[in-house]
């Protein structure tokens, strides 16, 4: 119940698909999805493995609430050793694919080895087989989706795939499902491509049951009411999506701009959630067509947009005139503020390309921002770019690079390296705005101090989704803390990290936590799954997961030296806004954080900590 207790093991080298029972003991310790799949990975993969070697594995994992009527219960995660980072990677996605996998009767799929020739995995309930992907390789996510549906003559199949970015080795290639939902970060799509696995197509008709259905329906109904009544999940997110944040974060002076040279973007209002609602002068229609929910979600923050047909990017190209996944905040920031581009239609087009060819808009946009700074300094010149002028604010540079990166061509191959490799190659490693090789998301840690510690200690490299202290520091959820103060942030970060690890293992969406606490989540899990799932047990499970991920990274070769931020954030004060004059005070927060975690001064969990958590 909750779990199907069934894992599909796919050996790509041998071409076999074998069912096996889920390790029920591990499920009690690690819950599902992020936690449980990471447990499988750390047990089965050498942490020192080359992420792109056949010895690395890639796991597609659902949570116990995936495929249930719990609000947002449709999530799945892709777990592997990340191509971009060399650290543990866990990228989470919505849409409908995860629920379909659960409906087919599987908790997770473990893919190992490497296929000799491109293949895709086709699952119909109990039956699973690897099929040749000759006609799919070289195609985009969108083309592959159409071909697979046509081949099997079944419109109800749900598909997760890589595009050309995953095939050509873009280091931050994504796994994209349902055309525009993505397990976006850390290069999980690059790993999938290295295994010659083009797609997973699933049709599931066997359904999902829970332990105590009556109690579950009560718990989920009460929790849905909490989401409906909350201003963020009930009003802000459905209307503006995560883009509700663009103007807010700009005003608090924490919108990283032009590769973090600035903390406020003069063009923010042009690329904001509000702007997406404004009728365009050209055709009188807004960029936004509608909002859309993922499976089971009663928030519905997803954006569906249409590009202006007269915009230079798509003029005479009707294949881009249809509605598709529009800009959410992170993408709008990375493609826009990080590059200084304020052309909403150009950003929407670049975002379409990220979905179509399968690459992470955050790392892509941030890498373009870094390249623009190098161009501005004269380090990268027209000779390298093939004549393309990488000026901050150039929409044409942005959209051309999106095309080139998606196809693995020209200077796009350099952009596909990610900012760390790119900046090292051109002799300026300090200009890569990244931690553990992964680019920052849309919050400048000089203006939101807790996010500096969040980024520095995140197990998958810089990321806002490992401890979103923005909730507390800016939005006042669950209680307001001062974004400019570093005091007390160590405890805040730890608490968010542990709770988030539990939510990411449940099958639910993290965005519910704008309204829900673990007190809303625990009763839903407890009614669905075997075991007593209380708030305390979820926090302990989250802490166990966090330490397990940490252990993997330490064994992979990361040390306390990697728990840091780029020099710019530690030494160059914010130039404007409320945070003017501030740098991030990481050195004040980190030792306290280690102490609270039960780690030694080198950031290594002590024996006592490990034994307390059963690790």
């Amino acid at each position: 119940m909750g779990w199907h207790n069934k894992v599909l093991r796919v050996n790509l080298t041998a071409g076999t698909c074998t069912p096996e029972p889920l390790n029920a003991e591990w499920a009690q310790q690690y819950l599902g999805q992020r936690g449980l799949a990471t447990k499988y990975l750390v047990e089965e993969v050498d942490p020192k493995v080359d992420p792109l070697a056949p010895e690395n594995k890639i796991i597609f994992a659902t949570g116990p609430l995936t495929g249930t009527a719990a609000s947002t219960g449709g999530r799945y995660s892709v777990i592997t050793k990340g191509a971009l980072t060399g650290a543990i990677a866990c990228s989470n996605s919505g849409g409908y694919f995860g629920a379909e996998l659960k409906m087919a009767g599987w908790d997770m799929i473990i893919c190992e080895g490497r296929a000799a020739n491109p293949v895709y995995l086709f699952i119909e309930n109990d039956s699973a087989e690897l099929l040749p992907a000759d006609g799919l390789w070289g195609k985009s996510v969108w083309e592959a989706d159409e071909i697979i549906h046509r081949t099997h003559q079944d419109p109800l199949i749900r598909i997760s795939a890589i595009g050309r970015a995953g095939e050509t080795g873009v280091m931050y290639a994504a796994v994209v499902n349902d055309l525009h939902r993505a397990a976006g970060r850390s290069g999980v799509g690059t790993v999938m491509g290295s295994k010659n696995l083009k797609a997973i197509a699933v049709r599931g008709t066997s359904g999902v049951t829970v332990k105590d259905p009556a109690r579950f329906m009560q718990a989920t109904a009460a929790a849905k009411q909490v989401l409906a009544d909350n201003a963020v999940t009930g009003q802000g997110l459905p209307k503006y999506g995560t883009q509700v944040l663009m103007n807010v974060i700009n005003e608090v002076g924490a919108l990283p701009t032009r590769n973090h040279r600035d903390v406020q973007f003069e063009g923010a209002s042009h690329i904001s959630g509000e702007a997406m609602h404004e009728p365009r002068p050209s055709d009188g229609k807004p960029n936004l067509v509608t909002n859309q929910a993922c499976f089971g979600c009663t928030i519905a923050c997803g954006r569906i947009s249409r590009i202006d047909q007269k915009h230079y990017t798509v003029v005479n190209r009707p294949e881009y005139w249809s509605a598709s996944g529009g800009l959410e905040y992170e993408a709008a920031w990375a493609l826009g503020a990080a590059t200084g581009v304020d052309d909403l239609e150009a950003l929407t087009y670049a975002n379409f390309l990220c979905n179509e060819q399968g690459f992470d808009p955050i790392s892509f946009g941030a890498t373009v921002g870094a390249a623009m700074e190098l161009y501005d300094m004269g380090v990268i010149t027209d000779a390298e770019t093939g004549g393309l002028q990488l000026r901050f604010g150039s929409a044409e540079a942005l959209t051309t690079l999106a095309e080139l990166t998606g196809h693995g061509e020209g200077f796009g191959r350099e952009i596909g390296l990610g900012s760390k490799r790119l900046c090292e190659k051109y002799g300026h490693p300090d200009l890569s705005m990244s931690v553990k090789g992964q680019e920052f998301p849309a919050y400048d840690s000089r203006g939101i101090q807790g996010m500096g510690l969040t980024y520095a200690t995140s197990n998958r490299g810089a990321c806002h989704l490992r401890s979103y202290t923005v909730s507390s520091e800016i939005l006042g959820i669950p209680e307001k803390t001062d974004p400019l103060a570093s005091e007390g942030k160590a405890g805040l970060v730890k608490a968010f990290q542990d709770a988030t690890a539990a939510v990411d293992s449940s099958g639910l969406c993290l965005f519910t936590t704008f309204a829900w606490t673990l007190g809303d989540i625990a009763p839903q899990l407890d009614a669905a799954c075997e075991g007593e799932w209380s708030i305390d047990r979820l926090l302990e499970t989250g802490e166990r997961i966090w330490n397990m991920e940490r252990q993997f990274n330490l064994a992979a070769g990361f040390t306390a030296k990697d728990d840091t931020l780029p020099k710019r954030l530690l030494t160059e004060p914010a130039k404007t806004g409320p945070a003017k004059g501030k740098v991030n005070e990481l050195p004040k927060m980190l030792p306290e954080y280690y102490q609270l975690r039960g780690w030694d001064t080198e950031g290594v969990p002590t024996g006592e900590t490990l034994s307390r958590l059963g690790l």
Binding site: A69, S71, Y96, M103, G207, T209, P238, T298, S322
Partner: protein, 161 residues
């Protein structure tokens, strides 16, 4: 007084809570594959549309059934499948012009919306009121009301919000 399921596609977000509620009510599990209501996603237009049986007054499915397994529930107006009588011949699935009666491999019977005996689970589960259960004679009431609010106002165009 009979009530009808009233569907307003513009309000649908595609969350499929209706499909889960339907399958839970009828099958005791969460399983969109066994739902009597289906949400269609016209992705390229950015439109999601829930669709199910409209309970035709003169029901093609009922008339086509050779074993009288589809009967009228006079309390609700629903055309219900008597599972004990259905032989799975599928003639009703051919007769229905709208495709809302469907065969189930698992049971060898057909399924269709029966309005849950007068308390449809899909309408209760819909978070945006895209599906409501209203007076069968007044499914246009809200739309009329919205236009009515404009009649003595200054000239305006377009659909009222």
């Amino acid at each position: 007084m009979l009530r009808s399921l009233h569907i307003e596609p513009r309000k649908c977000t595609g969350c499929l809570q209706c499909e889960m509620a339907c399958s839970y009510e009828n099958e005791g599990m969460f399983n969109p594959a066994r739902s009597r209501i289906k949400v269609f996603n016209f992705h390229e237009e950015g439109r999601m549309v829930p669709y199910t049986c409209t309970q035709c007054a003169e029901a093609w499915c009922l008339h086509a059934c050779p074993v009288e397994a589809i009967v009228v529930n006079h309390a609700t107006g629903a055309k219900e499948v008597l599972e004990s009588r259905c032989v799975g011949c599928k003639v009703c699935t051919i007769a229905c012009p709208f495709g809302t009666v469907n065969y189930q491999q698992a049971t060898g019977k057909v399924i269709k919306c029966d309005l849950c005996g007068g308390d449809p689970a899909c309408a209760k589960a819909c978070p945006t009121q895209a599906i409501t259960y209203v007076d069968a004679d007044w499914t246009g009431y809200d739309r009329m009301r919205a236009w009515a609010s404009r009649t003595d106002a200054q000239p305006a165009t377009g659909t009222p919000a």
